[in-house]
């Protein structure tokens, strides 16, 4: 078994988990939802092993670096982060309905990594990427991105929840709103850490902690946007639906920062698109 076979299985694991969570929600199979948790957990373990193997394989070909250095590897890690964060939330909030809204993001990221036509080879690192800040920067950013993906899912959940219905399959609107807020502040803290580690790294590689390169600027745009959402809660008339929509738009910002910038704009982060 090599890492690419295990990653191939992970795609189907996350797709299956998403299908179980969605079916359990649609058909009110409350007892079946636990199999979603089991499939997600097993797939996460498998994917973790795959990432470890890929790391090891990189040493065998003399490149020797963490599997966090191109679009393929980052998408794999993105799906890993979403699955890990989702399991944490399921355990903390004791609610499996979130899975139907969170796990499709993990399945999509993993499937897109594999079928999106990206270079899946392990390549040696260019000098600029050879730094201990690589792991800190990528990991912090992607935990943040994963949280914003889940928050987007919770935003969709909030909009689908009919407030007039007393007995819904979904949690009460205030509960969804509270979970959404908690997920966003978690993401905001990690995004902040991601921007800071990036700035420190840039300063040690290029001698400037901020150069308004498109990727940096878009991460700041995302930061401004979520900072605004967090303050919006303090304003009357902005709670609930507005926040849910903002969580969805916020994730579009994240998606552009992560993905759009690499392909539509040029800048220092160009190696992210290879």
């Amino acid at each position: 078994m090599d890492s690419s076979q295990l990653l191939g299985i992970s795609i189907f694991g996350y797709l299956l988990a998403s299908a179980i969570y969605i079916a359990a929600l649609l058909f009110r199979w409350d007892k079946a939802a636990i199999s979603g948790t089991i499939v997600t957990s097993l797939t996460l373990i498998l994917q973790t092993v795959a990432l470890g193997l890929r790391w090891q394989e990189s040493y065998q070909i003399g490149a020797g670096h963490a599997p966090l250095t191109n679009m393929f590897e980052s998408l794999v890690f993105f799906s890993w982060s979403i699955a890990a964060l989702y399991l944490l939330m399921e355990w903390k909030f004791k609610n499996r309905t979130i899975g139907a809204f969170a796990m499709p993001f993990a399945a999509f990221a993993m499937a897109y990594a594999n079928y999106g036509g990206f270079n899946q080879q392990i390549n040696p690192l260019v000098p600029a990427l050879q730094s201990n800040w690589l792991i800190a920067h990528v990991v912090t950013c992607f935990i943040g991105y994963a949280a914003f993906a889940v928050a987007c899912g919770l935003g969709i959940m909030y909009l689908l929840r009919k407030p007039e219905k007393e007995k819904s399959r979904l949690p009460a609107p205030q509960t969804i709103d509270d979970m959404n807020h908690k997920t966003m502040i978690f993401g905001f803290l990690w995004l902040t850490a991601g921007i800071i580690t990036g700035a420190i790294w840039a300063n040690s590689a290029w001698g400037t902690y901020w150069s308004w390169d498109p990727k940096e600027t878009w991460s700041l745009i995302t930061w401004f946007f979520y900072a605004a959402i967090l303050h919006a809660r303090l304003t009357r008339g902005w709670q609930g639906k507005t926040i849910a929509w903002l969580a969805i738009v916020g994730f579009l910002c994240v998606a552009f920062t992560y993905y759009g910038v690499n392909y539509l704009l040029s800048g220092l982060h160009s190696y992210g698109s290879s």
Partner: protein
């Protein structure tokens, strides 16, 4: 305080202004990522022309108008344009005014004497339960003190005639977290301003074995004296087997008043810092020359030669004649092997050397020479001096600490009003009510084992 009634003050302190500025900063920042930054008017005309060509037949006129707008609004360097900096200034003013506006009340909550809070207020807290006492106030208080302490609440007490008030709190300073975050943004802005007014950012290319006492600013190419000299002893470019660059390295030597004061082999991500100036390995420049270093092992005398293939070289003082006869490929893409022909007092010889390796010849016992061959480069250094960077880092650290406090900690308070026959326990948390409710219920659950709930 009359100034607080001032409507301008209220506006500057408002969350609405914060929202407005944050959304505006986010939206306007997009422009600078779409429009190339730091180019001249002719480039913008061509840029808009090519973008508009897909939409219309004759984009020339519109492209000119857009170019004029770009230059007028400073969109060619928009993050440094006055209007953008004003927006950041407005954010700073908003942060300062809102903090001054709210801090006194918050500080009151942090530092207040909770034991003197009116009993009416205490019994109106969001979470509350009543229990029957032990018939003796002092005995009940002692029991409660002990069980609360084991649950992690250290209580203070104030005994009155009818009743005793017990109070305990956790993390009162958690209320300050958000102000630490606000302050951290101001610290970062101050750090950035120090950097932009007192800092320098430039570069210099130094050919191997040579030195420079100046750098050239990126902004306008103006030379700036370093106050010392930097020499590049050697530059080395190593490659992966497929030929892709693996690492760039330069050995830099700092010379001040004729003395060597610092020496370091720098590489990408590992710069040299001296007297506030930091030298980063950023690029290199090949010169299509080969550098041959010849050392007389006997006398230690050494000479460097820049040569090209087939060019005969002569070390006059040693009576040595040599040249590179041919350049061969190696297993590694773009790394070459050189065949040297050498003719000295002791006769003729030849050496086969890979780039950046050395070999020696000895034609007789007296003349032993070492040859080192490598391609000749200039090292490309990015050089900066930024006295504000530590302020920025301090601000970043404050922000992470502040966010952690603001998001994950809450000021939790509990009171107990104890009389002879009963006591009330009440509590409140300034955030995360659900989390506090669980904690409160656990605590009262514990108490219900000792006391009878009413």
């Amino acid at each position: 305080m009359t100034y607080k009634k001032n409507s301008l003050w209220q506006f500057l302190a408002s969350v609405k202004l914060a929202l407005f500025v944050l959304f505006l900063l986010a939206a306007s920042s997009i422009l600078g990522t779409l429009i190339p930054q730091g180019k001249g008017p002719t480039l913008y005309a061509a840029f808009y022309g090519s973008k508009l060509a897909a939409l219309m037949a004759d984009p020339g006129e519109l492209a000119n108008i857009l170019t004029r707008v770009t230059m007028l609004l400073g969109l060619d360097n928009m993050y440094h344009a006055l209007w953008f900096q004003t927006l950041i200034g407005l954010l700073a003013v908003n942060l300062i005014v809102c903090s001054i506006d709210r801090l006194p009340a918050v500080w009151l909550m942090v530092s207040m004497d909770n034991l003197s809070l009116a009993q009416g207020k205490i019994s109106k807290m969001p979470f509350k339960r009543e229990f029957s006492g032990r018939g003796n106030m002092a005995e009940t208080v002692d029991l409660l003190k002990e069980s609360l302490a084991t649950a992690g609440w250290r209580v203070a007490a104030r005994t009155g005639e009818e009743s005793t008030i017990l109070f305990s709190q956790k993390a009162p300073w958690a209320r300050l977290g958000v102000y630490v975050v606000h302050l951290s943004i101001l610290v970062i802005i101050v750090g950035a301003m120090i950097g932009s007014y007192l800092g320098f950012s430039g570069g210099v290319n130094i050919p191997e074995t040579l030195d420079s006492d100046k750098i050239y600013l990126f902004e306008d190419g103006r030379p700036v004296d370093l106050g010392f000299t930097v020499r590049c002893d050697w530059f080395s470019l190593s490659r992966y087997p497929n030929g892709a660059p693996k690492e760039y390295q330069s050995e830099l030597v700092v010379i001040e008043e004729g003395q060597e004061v610092a020496r370091k082999v720098i590489e990408v991500n590992d710069p040299l810092t001296y007297k506030g100036w930091t030298f980063y390995q950023s690029s290199y420049e090949p010169h299509n020359k080969i550098m041959v270093t010849v050392t007389n092992k006997q006398t230690g005398s050494k000479e460097r030669f820049l040569t090209t293939p087939k060019e005969p070289m002569r070390w006059q003082a040693e009576g040595l004649l040599f040249g590179i006869k041919e350049v061969l490929a190696t297993d590694t893409n773009q790394v070459y092997r050189y065949r040297l022909l050498i003719s000295g007092p002791g006769g003729q010889n030849s050496l086969l050397l890979d780039d950046n390796s050395q070999g020696q010849i000895g034609t007789d016992q007296k003349d032993g020479y070492t040859f080192h061959v490598k391609e000749f480069y200039s090292t490309g250094l990015q050089v900066s001096k930024d006295p504000g960077v530590w302020w920025v880092y301090l601000g970043c650290a404050m922000m992470l600490v502040g966010l952690t406090i603001a998001f994950f900690m809450s000021h939790q308070r509990i009171w107990l009003i104890v009389s002879d026959d009963k006591f009330i326990i009440s509590g409140t948390s300034h955030k995360n009510k659900i989390g506090f409710e669980n904690k409160f219920n656990k605590l009262t659950g514990k108490l219900s084992k000792q006391f009878e709930a009413l």
